[in-house]
Every structure is written in C-alpha cells, then in structure tokens.
Symmetry: C2
Subunit: 329 residues, 2 copies
Amino acid sequence: VADRRRLDEFGIIATYFRPLAKGYSGALDLTDDAALIEPAAGQVMVATTDTLVAGVHYLVGEAPDVVARRLLRVNLSDLAAMGAKPTAYLLSLTLPEDVDESWFESFCEGLRADQAAFGISLAGGNMAATPGPAVLTVTAFGETPKGQALLRSGAKPGDAVMVSGTVGDGALGLRALQGTLAGVGAESRAFLASRYRRPEPRLALGMALRGIARSAIDISDGLVADLGHICETSGVAAEIDWPSVPLSDAARQALAADPALRAAVLGGGDDYELLVSVPEIALAAAAAAADSCNVALTRIGRIERGKGVRVLDGQGREIPVAVSGYQHF
Amino acid sequence: VADRRRLDEFGIIATYFRPLAKGYSGALDLTDDAALIEPAAGQVMVATTDTLVAGVHYLVGEAPDVVARRLLRVNLSDLAAMGAKPTAYLLSLTLPEDVDESWFESFCEGLRADQAAFGISLAGGNMAATPGPAVLTVTAFGETPKGQALLRSGAKPGDAVMVSGTVGDGALGLRALQGTLAGVGAESRAFLASRYRRPEPRLALGMALRGIARSAIDISDGLVADLGHICETSGVAAEIDWPSVPLSDAARQALAADPALRAAVLGGGDDYELLVSVPEIALAAAAAAADSCNVALTRIGRIERGKGVRVLDGQGREIPVAVSGYQHF
C-alpha cells in the first residue's frame, strides 16, 4: 500500500471519472444532480441494473480493472438479451474506506477499455462509504426500435431452442479460479478462468436477432434455470438435448476428467451467452444473423406445451438437474 | 425474529415486488432482463441514482418502510432539482442473509405508499446477498421537456439565491435521533427527526421553476456545500445572509440552546430542499410558482462574480463555515 495517496471524492471524480463522461453531453460533465438520457427518434430506452459484491460475485483480490469490465459486461449482457444497443450507464460505488487511489486508477482503466469496446459512456453515478465489502452497481441504458425488444415471453411450442457460444465455461472458470478444477491442463484452466472473468456480452447477436427470435434471455443463472425463466414467462415447457449443448474444448476436458461437472455446466451460471427460441420458419435467418456476427448459434432443444425444463441424454432419458441461481427482477 | 419464514427470491419478488410494478407496462411484470422506459413525446429522460447504506446513511434499527421511503425520496429530490416529473425507478437491494420476510413486507409497504404519493412505479431491479450491511440503491427516472431541465450551471451574477422550506432540520433531526440534541422539547425533537427520516422532495416546485430559476440543486451535502456546487459549475461566487436563512421553530429552539449548532445548519445536509438562483426579473414569477405549490421560497443571498461561498452575519461580517459532505456524480 505504498500508493496510499488520498484524493477526496471531488478529486477522484475529477481525475478518474469525469474523463469517462466526456463523450456524453447528457452526463453534464458529472457536475449535476442527474443525467439527461435521450433515446433517438423512434427508439425505446432499455434499462437494467446489476450488482457485484466483493467476495460474493468476484474473488477478493481480483484486479480492479477486471472487476470493472465484468461489472459493465454483466449489465450489457442484459441489454443484449433485449436486442438493445447500449448507449450509457450510471455507476454506483459503495466502497470500504481503505480503497486507495490506485484502485480507482485501475478500475477506471477497465471502464475506459470497455467504453471504447462497446461504444458507451459514463453518464452519472454515486459514491458512498461502507464498513462492509465493496458493492458495485451499474445501471445500463440501451435502445431498441419501438416494439422490437426481445422479450422472455414470446416462446411458442415448436420453436427451436438455441444458444450462442459455449455453455458452462463460466461455472467451470470459477472453479478453476478457486483451484478446485482437477484433471484440466493449465491452458484450459486459463481459458475457462478468462471466460468467467471477462464475459462477452452478445450485443451484436442480440440486435441481429430482432424480428427473428421469439424469446431471449442471457445465461446468468444457468442454462436450465434461464430456460426455465423463458418457459415460465411464456407459459411453455422446453427440452434440452444434452449431447447437442455446445462445449468448449476446455469444458470437454473438464467433463472427461469429472463427469459430475455436467451439473455445473447445466446448472451453474455466469456464461452470459444468449439463449433464444426461434420458430422453424426463421432458422435460416437466425443462422445468417449469427454468421454476420461471427458467433456460433447452436440448436440445443425445443419449446413444447406444458411446464418446466427437461434435459435428455443421448438415449432420450431425462437427466435430473438441480436448479439454483440468484434471481434478478 | 418469530417471523422467520423464508421465501426464496422468486417468492419475494412475486409476493412483494411484482405488485409494485403493475402500473407500469415497461416493467414487463419484473419477468424480463431489463425494463422499457419511454419518455413521452418531446420529453428528455432524467436519470439519477443514490444509495443508502445501513449504519451509514440510516440508523440500524430504523423501520424498513421508513428506510424505503427515504431511499425513494432522496432520489426524487435529485429529479426535483432538475425540474423533472418522476415516472419510474429501478431498485437494487444488496442484503444480509438474515433479512426476513417481515423486512420485505415493511420495506415494500413504504415503497407502495410513496409510489402512490408521487405517481411512480417500480420498473425493475436486482437482488444480491452480502456479508456486510444492507446497501440499497434506487435509480430514478423522470422527464422534462427538451431543453428545460434545471441545471447547476446557469447561475449568473446578480441572481437572487433562494431556498425552499426550512434549512438545517435534516442535520438537527439526525442529532435528535442520535440523542445528542440538548435543550429542545420532545415535540421539536420529533419534528426534526421526522424531517430527517422522511424528507419532502420538492417535485412540484422544481417543475414550476422551469424557465424561471437559472440554476438549481437539492440540499443533500449542506446549504453552503451545495451552493458551492452551483458556484463551481456556474463559474460564480455567492453570498448568504445568515439572518435570512429560513429556520423551523424547532431549529430556532435548538440554536437558542446551542448557538454552535449554526455550523450544522449551514454545513450539515439531508435537508432535500431546493436551492436555486433566480434573476431579478423573474422574482415575481418565482414567488408565484412557490405559492402555487404551497411551499415557502425564501431569498437568502445573491450570486456574485468570483469564486466560493461566503456567509455573512447581520453586521455583514463573514461567518467561517467548515464544508464537508459526500460527493455525488
């Protein structure tokens, strides 16, 4: 803690946060009581909020810039699941007193990198002190054309269930970071850890699937739990064919070493892939949309009449899955 | 803790939070990844976020419904300072594991009461667990006609400095709750405590002062600190005439018993009154606006050229004031 220079909050904001708001006139240079957010003509604003707590949602000791990017990305993933284009965000930092300036320096460097990557800007926020662990909240804003937001509620029997990227890397990556993932090489462990630490919000895919997907969600609670959310909201059931679930090479390696990890792949969370339902007639359009975004979109099951989510093995037998996961609202 | 029934988060949301979102179609029944927020035609959206930490921003043991209303009101006060009409809010609750259902019952009853009072609706949010104290964040949304938001940056030399209601009750009320306010009767202590616990966001006044006030802020950091924010943002100085600062009878009683409390009145915060600058030509309009809202609006000083805020006593001598206060951005 050689770097224990202490700026006051005004200094921190002026030095580290104000530059992050330069590109957004509605941020009012972070000098006012609130931000002005104006969707473009014909667009609806989409707003979501998500929180990371030190020691609960990220490992204590994680680099602040990595935490910052993860905080932004879990929020942007919610916008992706709505088919929204992100525009700006508010940041609410509740921090222990002993956070030093180097923390802000690194944290804001992470924000800066992802603002550039995703074309967004800081628009406002709040800082407060806590005797407890850091609680970091982002409220992210995006836009969709009126009536074109992707919702959880549109799934219909007969729809194909599709998922982007690969599933389970987030849950396995957390285990890799915790040192509890056995039988997996160093390179694969590093890959899985990076998937946990730096999720990839599927923003381009979400936008490309407007008018194509009938329902959408991002996988934060886990594949089965999140498909369950679609089913409950849409009043339908779903089946997943386990053999068709897309896995990374690293995840395959982990599963080969410990088949019981299948529960983590199906029931863990933190993948931040898009899970969508697509009517048969739109499957070609969905494939083209995924191609245009250079993202894999794999058919893993189907929407049916009824309630609940069933996972079937290669012989059509049901695989029992324990579902947990935090609930967002 | 007889009432230690535990619903899971889904149950809590369905039972307590979903009813609070019924009136707002963009909340999507709290079943989706994000909320849809659509300002009316010609309106700009105004967004602000503020956090209360248990034991830091409210006393541990405070009734949950009181905390909920205070949480909403400190955010609505920021919208009032922008001249915005509030519409909806997101709620981010980071809670210790031992919060029981009766907490949610009371907390949501507080939200319900103030949703009705202010014509707003819950639109979405997030719940997370923490090993630390509760961290409660609201992001509030409002609307103003394009170009009519009240900003901190418009003050000009010659403007009158005006404040709504009475000043210092918040800081004195906190002392009353902490049992450190001597020489004040029980009724006055109760009045001051209620001013701290249930601030009154001056929403109607903020809207009525559109096109009249040149600059505006709400008093959360303290009269002198917040006038300092206006001065810094507007590039001006200000003088306050201490004898003209409006005080409640209870505050007068406290000051009579302990004149040193003047520092708390000038430098404390939590009043959530509006502090505005008004050009001479608009003073009659400002008075009419305040009358129409049935709120006192008192002239307490003037904007001048230069930097900083000076407080003058009845003889024109400067009163030294220590300024602190949390910084919001």
